[in-house]
């Protein structure tokens, strides 16, 4: 069960961490949040949830005007230029146990998020107070850096502050190791794909554990698909159903092999280039392949003899 906002707030009180609470209608974006919480209460934050190719996850919590360049970040973490991307919705629900628009440093209080790396904007230290969602997007709280630090330490985490705008042109080489590589989690996490999930961002959930509706033969058709009788699907199946995932799988394996056979950062760069240039071509081929297979099956269906009685 995920931590609820009330549980979190009572934890903060227990730790004697000073905070101010603002309730408002559920908001999904910083712009909306700004309508209800003025900047006099504290600095608004933008919170991003990323995933890398080896299924490791990162929360980046930054001041709204700090420039977060995904490519630069990826290089500084030692993951090459295209190494990280926004994490999918399922990961939000599974690991952080929050809904869309609700990523927050506090999410690491959940056991499920123990391997998620949390990086905080250095600029927060210049603010007296800043604002986050306490696990629910219909509330915002403002607190100080020392308050946040105290909380993180209480759950066994070392608060990590990073200058997100430094090193905008990172040169990663033998003598200049990627400066943020130490923050890459040591464990990867597998988030199972749940293709028939009902959307978790319903307003406002009382307890914030996201609705992990495992698609068992449900009596009513689920909202987002017309599929009534669905079988529990694991990530393996979606690799074959989905041309994008199929191609990602192929390129993952190719890169992995390449990197294991030959060493060096030019090889890493090469693997990245291959991936970047081939993804769209391969996806096109995969879609065509899928279309042909479907058409042949479809045609066979029209010629199907009824079962002999």
């Amino acid at each position: 069960m995920g931590f609820s906002k009330d549980q979190l707030l009572s934890q903060l009180q227990e730790l004697e961490i000073d905070y101010s609470k603002y309730e408002h209608p559920p908001v999904l974006t910083v712009e909306e949040q700004a309508k209800y919480v003025s900047s006099s209460e504290g600095a608004l934050s933008k919170n991003l949830f990323f995933k890398d190719k080896k299924h490791r996850y990162y929360i980046i919590s930054a001041m709204v005007d700090t420039k977060v360049d995904i490519k630069v970040l990826s290089q500084r973490l030692g993951l090459g230029k295209g190494g990280i991307r926004m994490a999918p919705e399922e990961a939000l629900a599974e690991l952080l146990q929050v809904s869309l628009g609700c990523v927050t440093p506090f999410a690491v209080v959940n056991e499920s998020a123990r391997d998620v790396s949390l990086l905080l904007d250095q600029k927060f230290k210049n603010q007296t107070r800043f604002i986050f969602h306490p696990l629910s997007n219909d509330v915002s709280i403002s607190l100080s850096t020392s308050g946040l630090d105290k909380f993180l330490q209480s759950i066994g985490r070392d608060p990590v502050y990073v200058d997100l705008e430094a090193n905008a042109n990172p040169v990663v080489g033998k003598d200049q190791p990627p400066d943020l590589a130490v923050y890459v989690p040591s464990n990867s996490v597998v988030v199972p794909e749940l293709p028939n999930k009902t959307p978790s961002a319903q307003a406002p959930p009382k307890n914030v554990s996201a609705e992990k509706t495992k698609p068992v033969a449900s009596p009513k058709p689920s909202k987002s698909t017309g599929n009534v009788k669905s079988v529990v699907q694991n990530s393996g199946l979606s690799v074959f159903k989905n041309p994008d995932k199929f191609v990602e799988e192929i390129l993952d394996k190719t890169s992995a092999l390449l990197l294991s056979e030959v060493k060096g950062e030019n090889v890493e760069a090469l693997a990245e280039t291959l991936r970047k240039r081939l993804t769209s071509e391969f996806t096109h081929l995969a879609v065509m392949y899928k279309n042909i297979a479907y058409s042949e099956g479809f045609y066979a269906g029209t010629q199907c003899q009824p079962k002999r009685q």
């Binding site: 999904l28 698909t225 017309g226 159903k241 879609v287 065509m288 058409s295």
Partner: protein
């Protein structure tokens, strides 16, 4: 915000004319898109929307968005709002199959729609208006049906996913729930209004007058009971060229009266003809040298670009090196801005060419490479489209995994 402007279709060249059957600029100049947006009452697609798309789809926005090819919209922001809340939508686009020869300008809405389908993971309906072309171009019913099927093959070759796409021709599909919606729409539009919007007159045959509802009702999910049963509130997003706006203004006007959601639109500018950016608003299928066709060979493409692509370079090399190229009228650079994926490379070319260090020949050479690659890919994909595949795409069947 709908603006109720008096829609007078001007027939002289002192005003620009943009409607589904005619596109021409004022006094043979360039199309004024700002004026068009103003006149039609749609919105500009700004940076913040594009950033939002990037965030929601976790991938780089399509080159057509980055370069402002798709530049206007109606209610796209509302669609994104709903999407963020978990309310999906479906896509609707179409083609009037008037000729077998498809050129690159025809592919643009389909390339963009394919990207939208992949990025947002939503289903798509594609309408082939064979009836419209039969009426307007005076083709026989059989010929227009044949063209529809041939065009379907090129459309499929753009890479749509058969498990999420339904292609239909009007002659095949009109009837049932679709027709019921057509009648409902028709009841809401007076003859006078139709004449005002579309420029019909007493000389036009009644087939033309009754066509607009056909193009309107695919915006309503209840027109497709085999696809969206029970999902009457599902939103629709229509990627199209801006000359189609009148149909959908009418549709959006009618929708609330029928208890349906208004369809949202995302609109593109016109792809310029090879010869002169000034002469015509868009490419014409009737002049083979105004366009690059998907059936052109590498040699054809090279020739057409070298001979017909209007250049903004100067008359002599010395003059060119001194003042640089006129990027405003240069067609190769314009084409590259549509089709060259790499933003940095495009910027570099614009800078070097605009300041006179790069010559027209080099720009044309790069363009030839890019277009040849595209046409080759298309040809290969087209060759893989079988009659069975067309049947499968056009079969009235459910799409169970349409939102995955």
């Amino acid at each position: 915000m709908e603006v109720d402007k008096k829609e007078e279709i001007a027939s002289d060249s002192s005003e620009q004319v943009v409607n589904p059957w005619e596109v021409s600029a004022k006094d043979g100049g360039k199309i004024d898109y700002d004026k068009l947006i103003d006149q039609f009452g749609c919105q500009r697609l700004d940076e913040s929307l594009i950033d939002r798309v990037e965030r929601l789809t976790s991938r780089q926005p399509h080159v057509f968005l980055r370069r402002g090819v798709f530049f206007a919209h109606r209610d796209f922001d509302l669609v994104l709002d709903a999407y963020e809340r978990g309310d999906k939508f479906y896509l609707y686009t179409g083609r009037g199959p008037s000729s077998e020869a498809l050129h690159l300008g025809h592919l643009i809405p389909f390339m963009f729609t394919k990207y939208l389908q992949e990025a947002f993971k939503v289903p798509l309906v594609i309408q082939l208006t064979d009836d419209e072309k039969c009426m307007w171009k005076n083709l026989s019913v059989e010929e227009s049906q044949r063209l529809a099927r041939e065009n379907a093959k090129d459309i499929i070759a753009c890479g749509f996913d058969v498990t999420k796409t339904f292609i239909f021709s009007d002659f095949d599909y009109v009837g049932g729930a679709f027709y019921k919606n057509m009648v409902k729409v028709a009841k809401c539009v007076t003859l006078n209004k139709a004449m005002g919007i579309f420029g019909f007159s007493g000389e036009d045959h009644i087939g033309k007058l009754s066509f607009p509802p056909v193009q309107a009702v695919p915006s309503f999910p209840s027109s497709f009971p085999h696809l969206f049963p029970g999902k009457d509130k599902l939103r629709c997003l229509i990627p199209c060229a801006i000359d189609q706006d009148p149909y959908f203004r009418m549709t959006r006007d009618v929708a609330p009266r029928l208890g349906y959601s208004k369809p949202a639109l995302i609109e593109s500018s016109f792809f310029p003809a090879l010869q002169a950016s000034g002469e015509n608003g868009k490419m014409s299928a009737s002049d083979p040298n105004s366009a690059i066709y998907v059936t052109d060979t590498a040699k054809d493409i090279k020739n057409k670009i070298n001979r017909y692509a209007f250049s903004g370079g100067q008359d002599s090399i010395e003059k060119h090196r001194e003042i640089g190229a006129n990027l405003e009228v240069d067609i190769p650079v314009k084409y590259l801005s549509f089709f060259l994926e790499d933003d940095a490379e495009l910027e570099h070319i614009k800078k070097e060419y605009g300041e006179g260090r790069m010559l027209t020949g080099e720009v044309k050479k790069r363009l030839t490479e890019v277009l040849t690659g595209m046409v080759e890919r298309h040809r290969m994909a087209r060759a893989a489209v079988t009659e069975e595949m067309v049947d499968a795409f056009m079969a009235v069947r459910p799409l169970p995994n349409m939102f995955e």
